[in-house]
Symmetry: D3
Subunit: 241 residues, 6 copies
Amino acid sequence: MTRKDGRTNDQLRPVTIERGWSAHAEGSALVTFGGTKVLCTASFTNGVPRWLTGKGKGWVTAEYAMLPRATNSRNDRESIKGKVGGRTHEISRLIGRALRAVVDTKALGENTIVIDCDVLQADGGTRTAAITGAYVALADAIAWGREKKFIAQRSEVLRDSVAAVSVGIIDGEPMLDLAYVEDVRAETDMNVVVTGRGLFVEVQGTAEGAPFDKRELDQLLELGVNGCAELRGIQTTALEG
Amino acid sequence: MTRKDGRTNDQLRPVTIERGWSAHAEGSALVTFGGTKVLCTASFTNGVPRWLTGKGKGWVTAEYAMLPRATNSRNDRESIKGKVGGRTHEISRLIGRALRAVVDTKALGENTIVIDCDVLQADGGTRTAAITGAYVALADAIAWGREKKFIAQRSEVLRDSVAAVSVGIIDGEPMLDLAYVEDVRAETDMNVVVTGRGLFVEVQGTAEGAPFDKRELDQLLELGVNGCAELRGIQTTALEG
Amino acid sequence: MTRKDGRTNDQLRPVTIERGWSAHAEGSALVTFGGTKVLCTASFTNGVPRWLTGKGKGWVTAEYAMLPRATNSRNDRESIKGKVGGRTHEISRLIGRALRAVVDTKALGENTIVIDCDVLQADGGTRTAAITGAYVALADAIAWGREKKFIAQRSEVLRDSVAAVSVGIIDGEPMLDLAYVEDVRAETDMNVVVTGRGLFVEVQGTAEGAPFDKRELDQLLELGVNGCAELRGIQTTALEG
Amino acid sequence: MTRKDGRTNDQLRPVTIERGWSAHAEGSALVTFGGTKVLCTASFTNGVPRWLTGKGKGWVTAEYAMLPRATNSRNDRESIKGKVGGRTHEISRLIGRALRAVVDTKALGENTIVIDCDVLQADGGTRTAAITGAYVALADAIAWGREKKFIAQRSEVLRDSVAAVSVGIIDGEPMLDLAYVEDVRAETDMNVVVTGRGLFVEVQGTAEGAPFDKRELDQLLELGVNGCAELRGIQTTALEG
Amino acid sequence: MTRKDGRTNDQLRPVTIERGWSAHAEGSALVTFGGTKVLCTASFTNGVPRWLTGKGKGWVTAEYAMLPRATNSRNDRESIKGKVGGRTHEISRLIGRALRAVVDTKALGENTIVIDCDVLQADGGTRTAAITGAYVALADAIAWGREKKFIAQRSEVLRDSVAAVSVGIIDGEPMLDLAYVEDVRAETDMNVVVTGRGLFVEVQGTAEGAPFDKRELDQLLELGVNGCAELRGIQTTALEG
Amino acid sequence: MTRKDGRTNDQLRPVTIERGWSAHAEGSALVTFGGTKVLCTASFTNGVPRWLTGKGKGWVTAEYAMLPRATNSRNDRESIKGKVGGRTHEISRLIGRALRAVVDTKALGENTIVIDCDVLQADGGTRTAAITGAYVALADAIAWGREKKFIAQRSEVLRDSVAAVSVGIIDGEPMLDLAYVEDVRAETDMNVVVTGRGLFVEVQGTAEGAPFDKRELDQLLELGVNGCAELRGIQTTALEG
């Protein structure tokens, strides 16, 4: 059995990372996972929020959003609705946690990096594409901060890299990097966030249809770890480019 | 090594479920996991939201909130801040998904059940206590709906039961059902939602400190599955009482 | 003529005050007036809001709210609606004024006490139960502040005690402490807030049906004053317990 | 002893009611109590809100607000703050209740009247001036509705008239119709809403300083009833003008 | 051809400026352009917003709003809707820009003037009436600040005066100062803000029906400049009164 | 004298229009004016808002927004602030008016087109780039609607094309299409919206520094009209591509 777009079950969609897309941001990347396109910008500010002042530590946070017509039918803007939806909040928090897991905030010093992940076009896996691109933007913003002497020359701010991918079970078969048409049919849906050294930062598995057992969980985790290793390579290429 | 409250690593805190706490709700339970107290009420309404009308299916949703002084220091009310925070949104969505995973919405018919989980006192594990208590409130609301003939006599609305527990790694040791003082020290924190038959509905593991490996993940899952089995027994006793 | 629950016209419902209900708050009480249950917590903070700084005076304020299913049918959460309703505002302000009327803010010193009154179950008279319970929580929070030396040892912060009760005219008869079924039928509805010495702090009478005359007003006030005297005894017992 | 503006204790400030101030509204009045100026407009709409449809009854409601520089120092606009304050809510509700107390909603038929009371200049007693002026606007809107045949020719929509005035105790002396400089010094502050026949619609007394006793309450009520009788005369003159 | 109200095409409606309408504001004017009535108050505060502190410059800003029944049918309050509409925002910004164009903020010193323009009754041209009246209120607030020594005695804060008027093309004819019935029929609608010396501060022309050409634009500008010159005379008279 | 980027005063920046950028929208264009990049998507829906139903007319509206790091320093998201700012509102309204000026809503039939203009990168002239790109997206959405038979085959929905450009006076010299560094220094700033036939749809000129006279206004208008004619050519090329 092959997938709609001809991929094998353990195959990523074409992934590209266009580093430095933004003329203004201290770090940026336009990341695509097939039809999913996310613009990630990292804004570096010297100083930290008031509640963190004087502790000798930095702060990394993230905000995720979708353009109203990123999806198949138009969604009302959250700015006009006057409130941020639960899904948006949840994904913003996930991205922030994923990035902070590889950042040594002491080494960052009293600096703040805000990562904005704006989905320009959505076709499944927007949160995992966002994490994968955000890492590249973050790395560039840290490099910028070091060059501008806001960060000490020798300090190793990044303890590891981080990437993420979705996995799921469709018609009983575990598959990597679900496109939207696959995602809506998945019985189980999982997002796996993995460091460059292959350790887990976050595992979020949800039974959309029937509950799943340990064997299925193990299969999904293996697919996800392998996918993230491949994404790690693409990140490295982008950052060396 | 023993834990601060004298428990072994695989031991739950004292758990109680006071069924029918509310005089008004169609189903209700006051659930306690040690110092964590959550009031769960299930509100049954005949009919469904407009977007679901005429599809012959019901709707189950959940809202989670904390009283301002449920915690050690007072938090401002979300009603006064004028917006619901990301954490609240995220937990409300988790509870809703967990309950829907065991509900046959066709069998429920065009009826709506809203579960409110209000944390009266917090000491870690509020979301898992909420899911565990919410299941009892849900079961009673379904029984009420059947008695009032809003649900067909023979239809099996609940496909399974569902319970949840937190697990985590502290000082390298996997532990079950973290109290607040344990939770803040955990290197890895995981919430496991498991059905009465022992299948996973949701697995959410997060590296708070160092990333974790597959062996640690397996240990946590095993602890969580066993804890949920024990909670299943307490739910059954409550529902038979 | 007797009332639906068998009470005489000048009889309170069974009133209980469970002091120290909350493990976290500096003062707390779970108060019940029949089927009305209100959790009152008092949060003590050293310091005052900026607008009061340096004046040598403390601040006492209150917030009232209802759980969504405290009532017979579910109400949407004010946090989700994104705004606090007029009724909630009005009652919060009433409770705050009632408590401040018996507090010597100079003696309190530059400390802040926030009283949260959350209605867990409603059956009429929630605002009067809230005031009656809030006084007990307030007294305990002041005692806590004195023990922690935030308040000077000798200072008399409380000038008097305070309690409140509803009264109303139903089918032409003045009655004390209306339950919900009585409240909706009342022609005139009045809330009376009275100190332990029997003086008025607040009198709020409203013609729901026909306007009322001076004789009816006098009858209601007398009933209310007597009811508050009885509540004063229950408060004293709780605080001595 | 005389008051700052030379009045005796039982004397109203100069009161004027300019009927028909607005070119657009179905009823309107610009009412002044000394330096307090309130523009009251009544908007008549055929039909009622959805929740009242088909019950053969009308609806009367009120909204109160202050211009930002109605007061001595400027207040931020509630529209810009994005929320209506507690005081605004409370007064809007009071005005609405006061007017509904003299309206026979069956006789009004399925029509809605919204009364807007906007304080153009504030010098104490804005809510009582608003009620007094709103009655005149309401009466004219009802006359308009009758003329346009939205209200049956014979039906007596107004059961009585209604007016309101503030009273208070300053330096131990009961006084009528407090100006702002008096209001801020009052030990006890009361608003009395009275019908043309001399019956009470609303009594709201608050101890701002020391609690008050029954004798003081009686003195204030007597002052208030007399003041409202005088206001009744001014309303009548305006409506006959 | 004459206009509905008998004016010629280049004729203003009757314009009045009642200076010092408000007892509280440092400057104020009730301005009428025919049936349009706008209350303009200027609030003077010593000091500037934080972002401007220490730059030796003052700040002038404006807020525009309409009473709910200023118009022919009632509009919901923006305070209750919880957000300020686009039209309100747009006009507030226009008024602020118009006033700042004639203010030397260095000469003003570190003082803030907030101009509130509240439309009490609307009949077309509310924004231009607001600018015209706001100038008078502003001039008086500056005089107040000089008298109170917040502004240096010799400094010329006002570089020029400013007034505004609407112009439009109706049935192919350019007309000055459109009343509401004219405004809704206009093919092209333009607001012209002109200084006392006859220079443009703002030109906003919009094709409501068919697009317009350069000749029409020139005709409208000429009408507007002449109208503003006339308004300049009325402002001068008011300020000398 | 030449400009910072080497352009002559009457020269546009390099302008590109990438038609069909979005895989989902019925019409779309990524438009760039130098460093300004705006993604315009047109969403076509069969049907109109309730207030327009049954009138046989369609509806075209627009929403403008900026990504948080489109600019040189990061701006907080309006979704998180919970309200849309005045500038955003103003520009959204301008774009909507500009497009509606060339649409025959009768010919469009009861269909709705929402144009979203999201600024991905800002370097001056975002609103004029948005209008210029939005026209292309709109034209494609109309073509889509005709193809899907939502629009009658023969009906001419577009009466003309529309484009926009900014002009301004810097150091006394009129210049076309201001980049950000020019815009902040401009004494006068004007946006001109012109149809393909060379007629004005909107003229908005503002004195940022000194007021301007008729001669300057005429120079700016001429520059703007010529710039729009050039943009018209680029639009045509894109639509024929």
